[in-house]
């Protein structure tokens, strides 16, 4: 568990590097931080147009643009963070070789930067929910608050995976490609484009093999259906987060000594 402890101790540096990552990305752009809003807004506009005019989604997931939006935002965080984690040690090689910085910092920053993008886009999601409520197409309720807790557990899970992926990527050239392929596959196996209700009953148990499935079911429940998340699902998410953190930390600790040499 030492990598987790070190991460906690370095939180000031992680926050500073994450802020730098964001600032460096937006520096020089006319819109600055508004890009974080513009991207998801455009995405939302495209969904709203395509799924109103072209495809006719199921009745229980209308307005489909809103249904899709929360899931796609969260998935953007997951896939972005894991792909960044696969490259973070190569990108930060000089720092690793020339300073005494704890390597845990870099996967944490990869996750932190992507999480920041998600959080910056949340006002758009909130606005979309308020708009949908005003037009009477959804009825928001208290369970929406659970979204924050789901996001927290999802972040822990992603960080655990990022620890494993970043340290393995130092040794194996193809980790990023493997991760990219798994993510494409997982995107369709995770309830993002469709609700859990549309999965045939006999496959539901198998769905749980995918560690992300329960998280995205919970995201749909809290941010679209506004219904409470079952205690069993909470337990499952907490358990997933704990296992991912433990396994990620274990792998990271085993490979840690060679990171500065190989990166």
């Amino acid at each position: 568990m030492r990598p987790l402890l070190r991460t906690w101790r370095q939180r000031a540096l992680i926050v500073a590097l994450t802020r730098r990552e964001l600032a460096a990305r937006y520096r020089g752009g006319v819109l600055g931080y508004f890009w974080s809003l513009v991207n998801p807004l455009l995405l939302l506009a495209v969904y709203a147009t395509v799924f109103r005019l072209v495809f006719q989604p199921r009745a229980d997931v209308r307005p489909y643009a809103l249904f899709l939006f929360a899931g796609v935002l969260a998935w953007g965080f997951v896939s972005g963070a894991l792909l960044d984690a696969a490259e973070t040690f190569r990108a930060n090689g000089p720092l690793l070789r020339k300073t005494t910085v704890a390597p845990e910092v870099f996967p944490a920053v990869a996750v932190g930067a992507r999480l920041s993008h998600l959080v910056l886009a949340l006002p758009v999601l909130a606005g979309a929910i308020v708009y949908a409520a005003a037009t009477g197409s959804v009825r928001p309720g208290a369970p929406a608050i659970a979204f924050a807790a789901v996001l927290f557990l999802l972040t822990l899970t992603v960080f655990g995976l990022a620890l494993a992926i970043s340290s393995l990527a130092v040794h194996f050239g193809d980790v990023r490609d493997l991760v990219a392929n798994f993510l494409t596959l997982a995107f369709f196996l995770t309830p993002i484009l469709y609700p859990v209700a549309s999965i045939p009953q006999r496959f539901r148990a198998w769905m749980r093999v995918n560690p992300f499935a329960t998280f995205f079911e919970a995201i749909q429940d809290s941010a679209f259906f506004f219904r409470p998340i079952a205690p069993r699902e909470w337990a499952w998410m907490a358990g997933t987060a704990a296992v991912c953190l433990a396994v990620g930390a274990w792998i990271f600790e085993r490979l840690r000594d060679s990171i500065a040499e190989e990166a």
């Binding site: 000031a12 540096l13 500073a16 590097l17 730098r20 600032a23 460096a24 520096r27 020089g28 000089p94 720092l95 690793l96 070789r97 020339k98 300073t99 005494t100 910085v101 393995l168 040794h171 194996f172 050239g173 193809d174 980790v175 493997l178 000594d257 060679s258 500065a260 040499e261 190989e262």
Partner: protein
Amino acid sequence: MGETDTAIRVAGVTKLYRRYGRRHTVGTLKSALLSGVGRRALSADSAVQALTDVSFDVAAGETVGIIGPNGSGKSTLLKLLAGIVRPTQGDVTVRGRLAALLELGAGFHPEISGRGNIEISGLLLGLTRRQIAQRFDAIVAFAGIEGFLDAPLKTYSSGMAVRLGFAIAAHSDPDVLLVDEVLAVGDEIFAHRCLEKFGEFERAGKTILVVSHDLQLVTGRCRRALWLEQGRLVADGPSAETVARYRGRVAEEESRQRFESQSQITNRKSQMAPAGQAPRIGSGAAIVAAVRVLDGAGKPAAAIRSGEPARLEMEVTAANPLSDIVFGFAIATISGDVVFGANTETDGVPARGLDGDARIILEIPSLALAPGAYSVDAAAHARDGAPYDYRRDALRFDVTAPGKIAGVWNPPRRWSFAGAVRSAT
């Protein structure tokens, strides 16, 4: 100082760098999974031994120089001490807070302001946010970047960036400071401020390890020096002694190489080695025991007025009588440009031999040097150039003069005007 005052302990340290061959550069997780993940999949194809069985202790408050040719393991040693890499065998113990200056401005980001970079560099060096806030003004003042704090770092001159990097590290207040050749960058004023800061550290009882190719710096700043050669510690002792031995070894190596290359081209006897090109060399058959600069009154002087008489002296001693001997002096600027060099042969006053102690005196009726700092080389060598004792930069002195003069020569001179120049008289 007792056992408890040991700041650094390196015990039997060996460091192997694994080199992954072609198999691993295209080596993939997929193939590792197929062939069975395990130690085998992560084992190296070959290894490079960067350090071999190195042991030494450094007491708290010591300033130690590490010298040796490129690739001798100096930087690896610092990385091990900093905890960036681990020893393959043996133990490294460092007591107290450590700061490693392996590269000035490591972690700087060009798009971010100086202010932002100070914060991140400080955190990278292990400072807390509060400590950074407290020392912020001192860092900015030391680096001299007051007007540029909110400009992105990419708008800084390289000198400013280097100053900022050193300023942050210097204010990180470590107990143990590791420095890798960072003083080679930057101008002279900056180098002086860095050295001043080192002096402060020393007086505060901090432990400093410096890797440097600047042997002058090592002898001047460090009481003790470690000499690494091909990953092994070949000498550990007083810096003057270690550096002298190292210089001797380098000279040996150079003359061997020169001899080899010459005998390849021609088979003739090697011509006289030009003075001032070799670092300290010496067979020791004659020893230059002391070197002095004296003023017109014959008193040792640290500064000579330009145009005044000066005298260079060296005390030479030979244990056994020598019949083949030449004495020479050279004067160079601090940056190493020789402005004068002559010896008893070239000046046509050959010495017939040396039987014991002697004083060699060179009178200069008018020292026509421009104001500045100069260094003196003194040498005793054979007529074919083989050195008995060549003391490079044996002594420094200043030349003073009213007014400014460009260059190194300050000749006696007179201006006059002809034609339509309105003159004062």
